[in-house]
Symmetry: D2
Subunit: 340 residues, 4 copies
């Protein structure tokens, strides 16, 4: 049994981590922390988790590095806002803990790009080279050996799984990529903001964050690596009236033989447990509560464009499930342990 | 008071027509018809409309041409599926009634394109030249004088209002247009299909109808007219978990001065009652239950693309409100009568 | 044209008031106020109302008594929290304005009961005797002549419309009444609270405010008046995952002839515009966006109980529509002006 | 590994059974059947389950008794409509298979009451004495030894868990019980009916099935057993705009010491894995996707009534989770295997 700690366990990703890890056969959760709920049990604060063996009766400790160190956890999951995560990641890393960070703090290789997109200086630029981008289907081997994994973001996950193999093979024009995504409201976190109220989001579909959403930084970094050259994309995120799920529709110009696009994706994901490439159009409902990413492709013969579609649960494959998948790789467990 | 009839009044568009016309100060509804509910009152079948003066106590007549002719209605609204609408439109038109058709039957100028997109022969190709495409902001004058108006479709309305002025002025590259739309479930009508059940659509976001949705036929027809040359677009419609609303996001390459795009749209819609071009990103919630189309534009300086956004209520500006707006023009009433 | 002011126009009730009054043929809105949005236009703050003739371009004034007095409004609608409303109602009343208060501040005849249920001293107990309880179907005549009307609360409206006639006629046992209601989330107002977030309320049904919800005070006051003796009821409110609507189910023991219950309600509401007593089970969907209250009754022969059902839109018949209905009575306009 | 078959695996309960059993460590699913989808894989028909080891690639067999017998399944889950289930249960039982029936066919001890509530003759009245009512918290020991278990219905589960202990101890007046429940739409099954369409159910809350819902038969049977005398209750079910969940609010008159009600429930459920009695008001959101039933109690001192609250996921503790809990007991596995 690997002992783990969850820092920031009371947000949506933290709660989902608790849920997944409570049912994980190879894990013992030894500490959960929260700024607001110190001393209360997980089950009191998150009634959904009451009575869950392994986490329901755990008491929240303070979100402090020492609390985590004292817990004896070998692995630490950080479910914190960017900027705050680095303050935990650095000392924990230096103290020899292995860290899975769900924030954006270690996803970018460049502190300059971090500053450009997040508007603040990076808190530990010297650690960026230690961090591995935590999308297992792209970076499985590096993740397995890493001591600091930056679990991939929610929007990037579906986008990268659809596009990276095609760019790697030169099957789509890197300059032609346009992405339109719609996310459920849980993607915005458990923040008491008027714009996220039920009565504001119900029967509401709206774009936001145009034209330079922060996730573009990691999307373009990873697509550029796949393409072997700089890739810049247009990205339009939307908020949809649902709790969970991200649906992504990608438009691009194919290069060369159109038929190779489907066969490339099929071959890439044939043996992947969590990517289901099929002829069925992805639906967020089919991946909700799961760690799957559903993918499909359609060719628009009239315009010569290809349309790629992806669906994930933003809190699972887009956050906590992916973090556990990364953790499984890091700790040598079955990649799907606790996730099926 | 203009006397009107509504054929097919028990679908979602028909119900919405009843609601709007019940509150219209210049209209008297003299007949409503339905295949299934003959003899029942509107209020019995559509309890929302019970007690509404003017329509609640009206009894459904049979959906037959003679019933409509005998009602004395000067204007007839057809809220029927395509293919069926033409069977009413032709005899009513020949009998001198003025017709507002909410179906697709008279939106296309070409019977060949109708056949290509709808898979059946057109039932009255000789009438296509009589019909005017019923999008008032584009064709106000022809609508005013028309005897047969084909009210524009739901997806096309937002797309055309955003793009037609820009193509007319040559401000976007006609070959670069990509459209991603998401519609509420009422757009699929009141059909007892498993895929439209609450439990299938809730928490579900999915694309459908790729890559050649029927509405492309009217979208491309009208965009080609605006551009003065053939325009072909990529269109990805989605189903979103809400009852009403269509949100459309359009990506295109600008031609010439980027700043002209906003000023063109602003100038075009400055005096339009029902198009609100502003800096606020459109949200279906803000147009729900109204005849407004909200528009905005964003420039993606990183990729050189322009992003246009539009929101309407698919049952109002996308169907019944627009039909009434057309009717108002045809009958010389204030264009916004009954709609504000 | 009657000139009116709306104080607190940026909450859900205030927004709905703006919407209704913008379309009211006998009203000119001369002032809207808000604490947060002074100087902005209604359309900027509430984009749904942009472009609405009569209100869209109005600028929010400060929520101060002098601003209202200076506006020249003859009537003032107060859409404010309880405790704050009285601070406006008193000086405006004393200055000769006629006031429709949507808060609870003037609904109770007793300052003691106000203190018991609201936990604060009443700010103007001397005015309680001036105020009329604003449920037109119960107090039409007093409302017409009143200078201060306390528009009835959302839960009380459906409950009182169902029960008051039966208690007046002695048809149900006053000691047997149990009420279970479910409200849409807009009933909680536009407050940035975590418990009201989309992701907390979606797929959530929960009771709250047990066992002594504040609305019990006005429910029991009015039922006691109807019964001619003290009535105490059990009331369980719930929050349901929808924006609008209140559904109420009432259980009681009938007294005497069971058949008289339906006939009493039928006779009471036969000529009422906004109460639809019928055999159809009420559904919040059928009253959403309308000022109707739908009522029905079922007899449970197995237990000898009667079940009464009611549905309203909490923001219309439960708040702003009712306020306008009261205003119409007060100003001698048609009771349904602006509401159909 | 116990080999099991699922008959009727393509409805909502069947799908949920597949999902739960796919993750069950002690089960091998050897057959799934369906009338409509013979020859297709589970993953094709139910894309959510594609790629799930153990079920995703299973092919649907015909819903025929021989198919089930030939599969070698020791246990058979019947996820069929009432009336049809008995046609499978009887021959399978006689052939020595152990059966968990999710329908109502074997829940009632009396064929007369079955006829009264279901309107048809029971298909195998001679087997009613073999069947055990499958609510583990009430009948654990009989279930363990049973060969035919009738898994308890969705509404009854929450109602019985709240009331049975109190009636057993004589703590509430058996004649005073009034139940108001609200169910998510999945409770109505995957039936293509207009009333269950998204656009009909969204923003809709309505009562239905008044005053004699079929589940009253099993509710009253089990409450009467607990009370040791005939119990008749008033029951008002409602449909709420959510996919999953049942929330139940029960009103009753306490007998004797009020404080004993909470202590009785606390003591009863202290060691139960799946019943969480606490001070927190139950919320369907907290039990969604789980096999928990959340319970709470409030005393209404003003009226002397007690209010009991319960929440379950209708598809899990109200159907498929409970069926698996029953199966676990029957097969000697840990009661929570596959359910946490």
């Amino acid at each position: 049994m690997v002992s783990v700690a969850i820092v920031g366990a009371n947000g949506y990703s933290g709660e989902e981590l608790c849920r997944i890890l409570a049912g994980h056969p190879g894990v013992r959760v030894v500490a959960v922390t929260s700024r607001q709920h110190v001393g209360k049990s997980v089950g009191e604060v998150l009634p959904r988790l009451a009575g869950h063996p392994g986490v329901g009766d755990l008491k929240f400790g303070a979100s402090e590095v020492d609390v985590v160190l004292d817990s004896g956890a070998e692995f630490v999951f950080l479910a914190l806002p960017h900027g705050l995560a680095v303050e935990f990641a650095k000392p924990l890393f230096l103290a020899g803990r292995r860290v899975v960070d769900l924030s954006a703090d270690f996803r970018l290789r460049s502190a300059d790009i971090y500053r450009e997109f997040y508007g603040v200086e990076h808190g530990a630029p010297e650690l960026l080279k230690e961090a591995v981008f935590g999308l297992p289907e792209l970076h499985r081997e590096e993740i397995a050996g890493a001591r600091l994994v930056a679990s991939a973001g929610c929007y990037p996950t579906g986008i990268l799984l659809a596009l990276a193999p095609l760019l790697r093979e030169g099957l789509v024009d890197a300059g032609s990529i346009i992405v339109s995504s719609a996310s459920g409201v849980s993607g915005a976190g458990r923040k008491a903001e008027a714009a996220l109220l039920y009565s504001e989001c119900n029967e509401s579909l709206r774009a936001y964050g145009l034209p330079k959403h922060r996730h573009l930084s990691e999307i373009e970094q990873e697509l550029s690596i796949a393409a072997g050259k700089s890739v810049v994309v247009t990205f339009a995120p939307h908020l949809a009236p649902m709790t969970r799920g991200i649906h992504t529709t990608i438009f691009a110009r194919p290069l060369g033989d159109l038929g190779k696009i489907a066969s490339c994706l099929e071959a890439t994901y044939l043996r992947e447990t969590f990517v289901r490439f099929s002829d069925t159009l992805p639906d967020t409902r089919n991946v909700s509560g799961t760690n799957f990413c559903d993918l499909a492709v359609r060719v628009d013969a009239r315009t010569g464009r290809v349309i790629l579609l992806a669906a994930i649960d933003n809190l699972v494959k887009g956050a906590s499930g992916q973090a556990v998948q990364n953790f499984n790789l890091m700790s040598g467990l079955s990649e799907s342990a606790g996730l099926l």
